[in-house]
């Protein structure tokens, strides 16, 4: 499932804190129509560049990239060190 929210938090022992909760579902609402509108352009570009190897890469890269984004839901990274902490969670 596509990640709907992202929480990222960086805390340094010096006292500096960076914390962000990002509602990704709002970004997808904007991004998905843009991607659909741009997809014929990408297809055209890949056809033009097909004689070179780049056309094939462009055509195959986007589905693989989106499958990567699609699978990110559930990723959780929590690192605590002497100098600070890092937390990333995609739901």
């Amino acid at each position: 499932m596509i990640p709907l929210t992202m929480r990222i938090s960086v805390r340094k022992n010096t006292g500096r804190i960076f914390s962000l909760w990002l509602p990704l579902f709002l970004i997808w609402l904007v991004a998905i129509p843009v991607i659909i509108l741009l997809s014929p352009l990408v297809l055209l570009m890949s056809l033009i560049l097909w004689p070179t190897r780049k056309g094939k890469i462009i055509l195959y890269f986007f589905p693989v990239f989106f499958s990567l984004v699609w699978c990110m839901s559930g990723l959780n990274i929590d690192i605590q060190t002497k100098s600070g902490t890092f937390y990333l969670n995609l739901l």
């Binding site: 890469i57 195959y60 890269f61 693989v64 990239f65 499958s67 990567l68 699609w70 699978c71 990110m72 839901s73 559930g74 990723l75 959780n76 990274i77 929590d78 690192i79 605590q80 060190t81 002497k82």
Partner: protein, 136 residues
């Protein structure tokens, strides 16, 4: 193991319920989730990496990473788009570290097999730090 299943087994170990009741509750739970107790652990979804300091450790660092197996699969597919020059540099760097692996040899048909083998992976190292790598 799901939270409900764990709770049932805890109740059984505490003697709050008997074996028949535990079995009945587990089968009800399996019907609800559509899985049997035997295959509940067969399809892990995440690779978990945990590093915790031991009692004698001077290093307080803790690492807790949960990576969806689907993400690993997709990431390996994306790796095939790395230019050959860069792949060569990666292979060189791995060779310097004593790892003889060539990522250009990994073909899409091998990926599923590679990731499915991760299901059975369990690494448990207990020294100053406890390192656990497993699928859940």
């Amino acid at each position: 193991m799901s939270e409900e299943r764990k709770k049932i087994l805890e109740m059984l170990s505490e003697g709050k319920i008997n074996v028949e009741e535990a079995e009945r509750l587990l089968s009800t739970l399996s019907e609800d989730t559509g899985t049997t107790p035997e295959d509940s652990g067969k399809n892990p979804r995440y690779l978990r990496i945990m590093i915790e300091p031991g009692p004698e450790s001077e290093n307080p660092d803790r690492v807790n990473i949960r990576v969806p197996l689907k993400l690993i699969r997709a990431g390996l597919k994306l790796a095939s788009f790395i230019p050959k020059d860069a792949q060569g540099k990666v292979n060189e760097a791995l060779h310097e570290k004593g790892i003889e692996a060539d990522f250009s040899d990994i073909k899409p048909q091998n990926l599923d097999e590679l990731v499915s083998q991760l299901n059975d992976l369990t690494v448990n190292i207990e020294s100053k730090e406890t390192v656990k790598v497993f699928c859940e």
